[in-house]
Symmetry: C2
Subunit: 208 residues, 2 copies
């Protein structure tokens, strides 16, 4: 089993990957941590430490082989195989996520969208048919879905979460402000979208 990577590092790894992938085809085969750091406005020691966690390809005087580094990053970020996700709640936020291209960048594929609203069920959104939430257990099990994305109203979140977990989901991306209880083996990431607004609010009131 690989060493677990600390969360702050893990959040920076995609930055490195997308920077490296955006390099022009005809650029040098090797790149140094100093260059990466200055481009991404990070500390160079930090970049080296982060990269040391996922590759052993760094060579003094030369740097890192871009191709190898990209492969190691993709490997470690789990970008080798596509992971199926189910989205529950086809409201406006759910629809925005269905249109969100970054998902495929992370090799997630929203295989199915659920909603409990009769007027939405059957609709075709971004090429995906919205299915009744009643079918969560049935379909998620059969489709071997491992990630659940929750974009329902807050009061329904826990129930939906329980049902996704019951259907074999191992990770939850929670976009409501509900605090979800799950078994230990299930990972929950809370994406509280309005969280940073107080910082803006404070800044604005401080500056008239």
């Amino acid at each position: 089993m690989l060493d677990p990577i600390p969360a702050p590092t893990l959040r920076r790894l995609p930055l490195y990957l997308s920077y490296l992938k955006a390099l022009p085809k005809d650029s040098l085969a090797n790149i140094s941590s100093t260059v990466i750091a200055s481009e991404l406005e990070l500390n160079d020691v930090q970049v080296r430490k982060d990269l040391a966690a996922i590759t052993d390809g760094g060579r003094p005087r030369i740097g890192y082989a871009v191709k190898e580094l990209v492969a190691d990053l993709e490997e470690r970020l789990g970008y080798r195989d596509v992971k199926s996700a189910a989205l529950v709640g086809a409201g406006s936020l759910g629809r925005a996520l269905l249109a969100y291209e970054n998902f495929s960048e992370h090799q997630f594929d929203i295989a199915v969208a659920f909603d409990s609203d009769e007027s939405v069920i059957g609709m075709q959104i971004r090429g995906k048919r919205v299915i009744s939430s009643d079918k969560i257990e049935n379909l998620c099990g059969r489709m071997k879905i491992r990630l659940g994305i929750i974009t329902v109203p807050e009061r329904e979140a826990q129930e939906i979460c329980d049902r996704l977990v019951g259907a074999g989901v191992l990770a939850i991306w929670n976009l409501t402000s509900a605090k979800l209880s799950v078994p230990e083996c299930v990972m929950v990431i809370n994406e509280r979208i309005g969280d940073a607004l107080p910082l803006l609010s404070q800044h604005l009131t401080e500056n008239i």
Copy 2:
């Protein structure tokens, strides 16, 4: 001038506020940090430290007066007066935000929505008419808008940012993954929505 509050504290203050506001009307007039902590699954010392930054109403043996605490929180979070915001980019994410009720909770009001797409300009979304991005300078200045919300495609983000800043905006909520350059007096909060996906990806690949 008030002491600046560290960001982690500032992010927890709204949690306290919404918890206190959700208390039943007939509950006790006072509440202890221990109770708040256990309800919100936080450390009680942390709660006291956080609250000490915004109130001096804590009394040994008794706790905090709920009413006073709510007032102090609202005061310090800048919830006393409504702050006008402009949203630029009425795509699916922009529309989701227009529907997002949490805004008004933070006393932000999206006063106007801009887009550069002819087929969207003039549309009515959530009761707001979409206006041509050409009018940003003109309208934001006149409407005294201080917060800009950027939901345009990444490559357009910096230009829109520059124009908002030129129009007198003092804070930017950036929902693209662009790194924005702004004058020092302008605060930028980056809301990178897919940021946490690698954590989920790693968890899933570690657990087959």
